[in-house]
Each structure stands twice: as structure tokens, then as C-alpha cells.
């Protein structure tokens, strides 16, 4: 136990004594907490801008951060700080345009418009924003606490009970699960996963001659993680956005300007007591959904809202505003659920190295680019007296998340209310800027024109995926997991003395494989639900 406390303390120290940003009156000001703060403000602004989303800002910020802080392990915490700040800020900020203008800033806040906007229209925008902020931050904090407690135990349990074949089976299960639950068709999910795996197999492997490169030297170390992820996730999204703008201009359709009621208003007495049970329930739902990789915050928001609506219908007093007409409980149920996903999503990332959503993908990308921290069960080796630097980084990340929550509680709300104006930046200005910055970012990191072509190529692939309703995240996650999967499978194969049936020797691995098959058969979401 003292070992754990010791590591927690080292993690806190690493944040506050780490990389100094500048010195003020002889005192070094640590970079990491400042970066969380900067990231949080950026995230709130980004979330409040329709058309931008947290992952996009993370993608743009990452190369800039790396060029500022360098490739040394010292850079890990400041860079993670900024990214975590964006992640947390964007969840809160997404509610702003949803409430004020009936435009969801992020896909998760679609349900927020249902009650938030009517409340704002009724002359209470400030009250709606306060409720959104309180519920969102509560959900997020709860889910972070679950992460802090669960991730180390899960990692230790995996190391203690799972041998190489079982770890391979677990990776197969997570990839199948993601294929099944993301998007609206299992077939398309499996297709995305298969393409992701195939892409990752180019140029990698153990042989000294690179495979599947068709003699192309540029491919000999494979497609780079940055090019693939930014291409599919960001460029693809931009192409879709540009197409949408083009369609809109062709049809001559203009977005109507929502009226803004400047009436002063604030939390009403009794609001907190009224929303508390909804927040608690939704935070719980969001955390459970977040801990399963790949399901995402949109389902959490939908589930939180509909369960909240049912409870409200049953127990509501006469005279309460019903759901859908500006009920504070409605905003609370949605925001708490979608925010609770973000912390819990890091449970599989930190303890198993399996990312569940786009934000987690970018955290893994950051770790991979900087080096010195490889998310996975080996992070949680409580070695003593030798200090395990990865574990210190993990506790540093927890500290950063706590700082983010404290900032979100205190001044996040005020900043959030000032961000309403961002919703008015027009797409024709925003999208080309994001495109330019993304391509520059890639060139800065890779210094090769080939990397730009690869990125554009994957951008077109991302566009085709979106147009054909194929989910893009399973592709990216499979691309990331392909290497650990192959590595684990190879290790398991040779560790068992070259046994081709290594997956079927222990009850655990058979159970995991059966679960993988079952997930594809039973978990596919029906078309209607999407």
C-alpha cells in the first residue's frame, strides 16, 4: 500500500516539479498544470464551435506541442496535459451552441438541444448553461474517480491472470466488439476493421525484408500512425464538411440565425436537488459505457436521456416542465452521461492499451510520437526500489485530470458562457484553415511529401467511408491494435513451443474467443436505432 501512495506522490510531484515553462521571481512555473488550463480553455472554445470537435483540436495541437516540448519523456506530461484539457473542455463546451442556437457543437450534445434550447428560448439561457456545466463536470469527475481506482487493478489483474495466448484472445475480443457495436451494420464494422488490419500489415512484421510494399522504399516502415489517423479522421471529415457547404450553397439554403435572449437568469433554488438524482444515474451509465471500448458518448447521452425521461414521467410532480420542453433534468441527464464517458474511456487505454474513442486514439498517438510511455498492462508494475517511470507518468496523468476537473468546476462555467459568439464562425473560413493546419502539422512531423500524399489518400478513404456509412473509428482502432495483436500472437505462438492451437488451450482464452464470436453475432445494432 505504501508503494501505491509513494507512486501517487511521485506522480503529483512529476506534474508540479516537471518541465518548467518559465521562471517567475526565481520560482520555476511547471508547464503541465498551465498546459491543462490552456487545453481546457481551447477545448471549451472548440466544443462551442460547430464543425470543430475535440479530436480535431487534439490533432492540430499535437505536432505543435511536440515541436515545443521535444521528444524527451519530460514532454509527456505537458503534452498530455494540453490534450486532456481539450478533451475535458470540449465535452463541456459542446453544450453551448446546442443550448443557445439549437446547433449541437459535438455529436454528443444533440440530446442537449432537446431541453437546453427550449429553456434558453424561454429566457433562461444562463440557467441552462449552468445546469449543463454542473452536470457535465459532475459526470466527468465521477468517471475519473472510477478510472483512478479501476485502471491499476484491471492492469494488475490482466498481468497476473492472463498469459500471452489469453492476451491475444482479449485483443481479438476487443476488435470484434468494436466492429460489432460501432456504426449501424456489423458487416460494415467488420469491413472497416479488416481494412484497418490490412493497412497496418504493410511494411511491418519481424522479417528483415519489409512485406507488402511492392518494392516501394517509402512504404518500408509502413504507413505512419499520424498520416493514417489524421487522414481518415480529420481530412475525411473536412472533405465531408466541404461537400456539405457546397450542397448548401447550391440549394441556396442559409442557416437561420437563432434569436438570443439577453435576459439575466441563473440557477434557481432547488435546481441542484432536482437534478442530482438524474446526474448520479447518468454518470453511472456513462461510466459503464465509457469503460467498454468503442461504444461512445452518443449512446451514453441517448440512454441517459431516455432513462431520465422515463423516471421524470413516473415521478415528476404536476407543474414540472416535461422533458423536451426545457426541463433542467433533461439537460442534466444528457450532459452527465456524455461527459462521464470521457474518463472511463481511459480505463481500457491505460490498463490494456486499447483505445475506445477518437480522443483516446490521439492520446495513444501522442504517447507513440514522444516515446517513453507505452499504454498497456506493463505500465502498472509497482517496482521498488527502482522507480517505474511509466507508472509515475500514469499517476501524473491522473493528477492532470484532477486539475482539469478542478478548473472545470471553478472557472470553466464562466469561460463557457463567453463562448457563444464562436458558433457564428462560418464554415467556408473554418474548414480550409483546419485543412491547412492539419497538412502543415503532418509535414512538420514527417518532413516528407510522401507523407502528405498518404494522408490525402487516407482522407479520401475516410470520405468514402463516411459516404458509404462505414464507421471510421473501427478502422483507426484496428490499425492501432494490429501491431500489438500480431506481436502478442507471435509471442504466444513461440512461447507455447510453436503450437498453432495456442488460443484454445486455456478456459479463459476459449471463453474470450467465444465472447468475440458472440459479440459479432448478438451485439450488432439494428438499423433503426442509429
Amino acid at each position: 500500500m505504501t508503494e501505491v501512495l509513494h507512486y501517487i506522490w511521485l506522480g503529483i510531484l512529476a506534474v508540479f516539479n516537471g518541465y518548467p515553462l518559465f521562471t517567475l521571481g526565481g520560482i520555476a512555473i511547471p508547464a503541465a498544470p498551465i498546459m491543462v488550463c490552456g487545453g481546457l480553455l481551447t477545448g471549451i472554445a472548440v466544443g462551442a464551435t460547430p464543425g470543430l470537435a475535440g479530436p480535431m483540436a487534439m490533432a492540430i495541437a499535437l505536432p505543435i506541442l511536440i515541436s515545443v516540448f521535444g521528444f524527451t519523456p519530460d514532454a509527456l506530461l505537458p503534452v498530455f496535459g494540453f490534450l486532456i484539457g481539450i478533451m475535458k473542455g470540449a465535452t463541456v463546451g459542446g453544450a453551448v451552441p446546442a443550448i443557445l442556437f439549437n446547433m449541437p457543437g459535438t455529436p454528443d450534445s444533440v440530446m442537449t438541444t432537446l431541453d437546453g434550447h427550449p429553456m434558453a428560448k424561454a429566457g433562461q439561457p444562463r440557467r441552462a448553461l449552468r445546469i449543463a456545466q454542473l452536470s457535465s463536470v459532475t459526470g466527468d469527475t465521477f468517471s475519473d474517480l472510477v478510472l483512478f481506482v479501476c485502471a491499476p487493478f484491471l492492469a494488475v489483474a490482466v498481468e497476473a491472470y492472463l498469459d500471452l495466448p489469453e492476451k491475444t484472445a482479449l485483443l481479438i475480443l476487443s476488435i470484434s466488439f468494436i466492429a460489432a457495436v460501432m456504426g449501424n451494420s456489423r458487416g460494415k464494422g467488420l469491413l472497416a476493421v479488416a481494412l484497418g488490419l490490412a493497412t497496418a500489415f504493410v511494411g511491418t512484421g519481424q522479417a528483415l525484408t519489409p512485406r507488402l510494399t511492392f518494392g516501394n522504399n517509402d512504404l518500408s516502415s509502413g504507413f505512419s500512425l499520424v498520416s493514417v489517423i489524421l487522414g481518415v479522421l480529420i481530412i475525411g471529415e473536412i472533405l465531408i464538411g466541404i461537400e456539405g457547404l457546397w450542397q448548401a450553397s447550391r440549394l441556396g439554403k442559409k442557416k437561420e440565425d437563432a434569436p438570443h435572449d439577453p435576459a439575466q437568469d441563473d440557477l434557481q433554488p432547488g435546481d441542484i436537488g432536482r437534478i442530482a438524482p438524474y446526474v448520479a444515474r447518468s454518470a453511472f451509465i456513462g461510466t459503464i459505457i465509457g469503460a467498454l471500448p468503442g461504444i461512445g458518448s452518443t449512446l451514453a447521452a441517448t440512454l441517459g436521456y431516455s432513462l431520465g425521461a422515463r423516471r421524470h414521467f413516473k415521478r415528476g410532480k404536476p407543474g414540472d416542465t416535461p422533458f423536451g420542453e426545457g426541463a433542467p433534468e433533461g439537460i442534466a441527464a444528457t450532459e452527465a452521461a456524455n461527459s462521464a464517458v470521457s474518463g472511463a474511456n481511459l480505463i481500457p487505454v491505460l490498463s490494456l492499451g486499447i483505445p475506445g474513442n477518437a480522443a483516446a486514439v490521439f492520446l495513444i498517438l501522442a504517447a507513440d510520437s514522444i516515446g517513453g510511455f507505452n499504454p498497456g498492462p506493463q505500465v502498472f508494475h509497482f517496482t521498488s526500489p527502482q522507480v517505474n517511470p511509466e507508472l509515475v507518468t500514469a499517476f501524473g496523468i491522473f493528477t492532470l485530470m484532477s486539475i482539469g476537473n478542478i478548473l472545470n468546476w471553478t472557472f470553466g462555467g464562466r469561460f463557457m458562457r463567453a463562448m457563444g459568439v464562436l458558433a457564428r464562425i462560418p464554415g467556408p473560413i473554418l474548414l480550409p484553415m483546419v485543412l491547412l493546419v492539419t497538412l502543415t502539422a503532418i509535414y512538420v512531423q514527417q518532413t516528407s511529401f510522401f507523407a502528405l500524399w498518404v494522408t490525402m489518400g487516407f482522407g479520401v478513404l475516410g470520405y468514402v467511408f463516411r459516404r458509404s456509412n462505414i464507421p471510421v473509428l473501427p478502422f483507426v482502432i484496428a490499425f492501432i491494435l494490429a501491431r500489438p495483436l500480431e506481436q502478442n500472437a507471435r509471442e504466444a505462438f513461440s512461447a507455447t513451443g510453436g503450437d498453432p492451437w495456442f488460443l484454445f488451450h486455456s478456459a479463459t482464452s476459449i471463453a474470450l474467443i467465444l465472447a468475440a464470436i458472440a459479440s459479432v453475432i448478438f451485439l450488432g445494432r439494428k438499423q433503426a436505432e442509429s
Binding site: 511494411g203 522479417a207 528483415l208 518500408s220 509471442e491
Partner: protein
């Protein structure tokens, strides 16, 4: 544009050549591209970047580090070969890349004689490592367990390590389950997590050994390990081969001897200077600097090359 640039670069090259008549005064004709064949953030990468930084500080040469990883350093070698041999492109690899790996991948164009070796930085301190107090923390325990029929998982990081392991097992009548993982860090993670029983680590085991977490069961190089002077050499345990090797800087073939000397001396200078961070790092993590330049380096590489040829012949004959 190209027509115009070509004579210009030629003129610049000629000009720099005439300046380079005196080795003392050789300066790179432009920024030096430093290719690093190891993944970002690891010990080898940090070592290369700190050396680059120290040379920049000391000589004022501009160095641009760049990661070119994959295929055991052969990707880097291939790319470095096409760079100009004027001192503006250098690469950091392990000696194994240009000897065993190039031979094994059947890439005769990537062996030592196709490059200009500049300087070695540190020597491998490879040991056969196991968790202390575990079932395999001495060679006697390992052989006894193997005789009793216990399968033994042996972690290796390269094909060469795997070949040496296989032949060592053969000499002792043991059929190891040889598991190839990612680098020495991968071997140590495997040992800690119980996925591996024993494995080779090329120097990073020093700290856990000093702190009593792991033990060096044997030394895989031709001298005893500083941390474990009592551990036998693997050549005493029946192996005909060692895992000697170096981290080293190379340049394309045909580099001007003055440039070679200037670059080699610069690397030696900053590594042997106790005030640099590079020196501190290699003392802490790699058993101290082991800088060879010029003919001493050539001779060492010739020996490593013939060792690799013998090892490959023996491994494929078995």
C-alpha cells in the same frame, strides 16, 4: 531549376573540399541530417539526440535528428546510402545492422564496406537476465528445469540473439521456446509480467540488477559484466558465439577522410567529456562510452562481420 542547382551544388562541394584540406578546419557544408534507427523516446534515441545537442553546442554545427526505424536498422541503411557523402548525412545504428542483419536479409549492398563508419559510442553489455529469486536465476536452475521437462520461455530481441540462443540450447541439449519481443525493454517487461522466464538484455538491465530485482545469469559478451562479475560468460556455458556489438554512427561510402576524422572526433569528444549530458546518459545506462574511430573501428567491424558469417552458417547448418 535543377539544371541551375546542379553546377551550383558541385561548385559548393568543390569549394568545401578545398577548405577541407586541413582536417582541423573541416566544417559541414550545411546542416547535418542525423538519421536515428531507433524508436523515439527510447534509450538509444535519447543517446543520439543528446550527442547531436552536445555537438551543436560545442562546434556550432546544425544537426537535424530524424527517425528512420524498421527492419533492424536496414531501412535507415538503405536510405542513408542514397544521401550525399559530404558529411551532411549520418546515421546511428547498431553494428549488428551492417553485419548480421544485412547478411541475413540477403542485402549485400548494406554491409559495413558500403558505408563509412564514423565512431562507435557504447558497447553492448548483453546479459542473460532472469528475475531474482525466481525459478531460473542461475544456469544450474535453468538446466535442471529443462532436464525435468519444464518448457523455458527465452526472450530475444533480434534474429541474431535468437540464433545464438538456439545454438546455446543445442550445445546444452535444451530446446528453448524462443520468443522474439520488442527490444530489451520488451524482454524485461515480459520477465516482470511472467510472460517470459529468461532473456537477453543489452545493457538496460543494469539498474534492476543493481537494485536486486533481476540477476545476470551470464554475460553474453566476451568480458564479464561490471554489475555481475561472478556471472559466467556464455562461451563458458558451451556457446561458440557471443553477442558483442556497438551502437555506432555511419555515413555514406566515399566520405572524405578529413570529414570522417572531424565527425568521428566530434562524437568522441562530446561522449568522453564528463560535462555533457550525453556522457552522463551513457555512463548511467550503457556502461560508459566505448568510442572507437578510424582503423580501430574498421578492424572491430571486420571481426564482427566474420563472426556473423560463422553464426549464420552454423545456424542454417543446424
Amino acid at each position: 531549376m535543377k539544371k541551375f542547382l546542379k553546377p551550383l551544388t558541385l561548385a559548393a562541394a568543390l569549394l568545401s573540399l578545398s577548405f577541407a584540406a586541413n582536417a582541423e578546419s573541416w566544417t559541414p557544408p550545411g546542416p547535418i541530417k542525423m538519421m536515428i534507427g531507433f524508436s523515439a523516446g527510447g534509450g538509444a534515441d535519447t543517446q543520439a539526440r543528446l550527442i547531436a545537442q552536445a555537438i551543436e553546442n560545442k562546434y556550432g554545427w546544425k544537426i537535424l535528428p530524424e527517425q528512420i526505424t524498421g527492419n533492424g536498422g536496414l531501412n535507415l541503411a538503405k536510405q542513408l546510402k542514397s544521401e550525399p557523402a559530404d558529411g551532411t548525412a549520418i546515421g546511428m545504428v547498431v553494428s549488428e545492422t551492417l553485419t548480421y542483419s544485412a547478411l541475413s536479409a540477403n542485402q549485400p549492398g548494406l554491409t559495413t564496406e558500403n558505408f563509412t563508419p564514423l565512431a562507435s559510442t557504447v558497447a553492448f553489455q548483453t546479459g542473460l537476465v532472469a528475475m531474482k529469486g525466481g525459478a531460473f536465476d542461475s544456469w544450474d536452475k535453468i538446466t535442471a528445469a529443462a532436464k525435468a521437462g519444464t518448457p523455458i520461455r527465452f526472450g530475444v530481441a533480434t534474429d541474431r540473439w535468437a540464433d545464438v540462443t538456439y545454438l546455446l540450447g543445442k550445445e546444452n541439449g535444451i530446446d528453448f521456446n524462443i520468443v522474439q519481443v520488442k527490444g530489451g525493454a520488451g524482454v524485461m517487461n515480459g520477465l516482470r509480467g511472467g510472460d517470459l522466464d529468461i532473456g537477453w538484455v543489452g545493457g538496460a538491465q543494469s539498474k534492476p540488477v543493481q537494485q536486486g530485482e533481476m540477476v545476470n545469469v551470464a554475460s553474453a559478451v566476451s568480458h564479464r559484466l561490471a554489475d555481475s562479475p561472478d556471472a559466467p560468460l556464455i562461451t563458458d556455458l558451451g556457446s561458440k558465439y557471443t553477442l558483442n556489438g556497438y551502437f555506432m554512427f555511419i555515413a555514406p561510402k566515399g566520405l572524405d577522410p578529413d570529414a570522417r576524422k572531424a565527425l568521428g572526433d566530434a562524437i568522441a569528444e562530446v561522449l568522453n567529456d564528463p560535462s555533457t549530458q550525453a556522457h552522463a546518459l551513457v555512463v548511467k545506462n550503457f556502461g560508459g562510452p566505448a568510442v572507437l574511430t578510424g582503423t580501430a573501428l574498421n578492424d572491430t567491424l571486420t571481426n564482427l562481420m566474420s563472426d556473423s558469417q560463422n553464426l549464420l552458417a552454423a545456424a542454417s547448418a543446424n
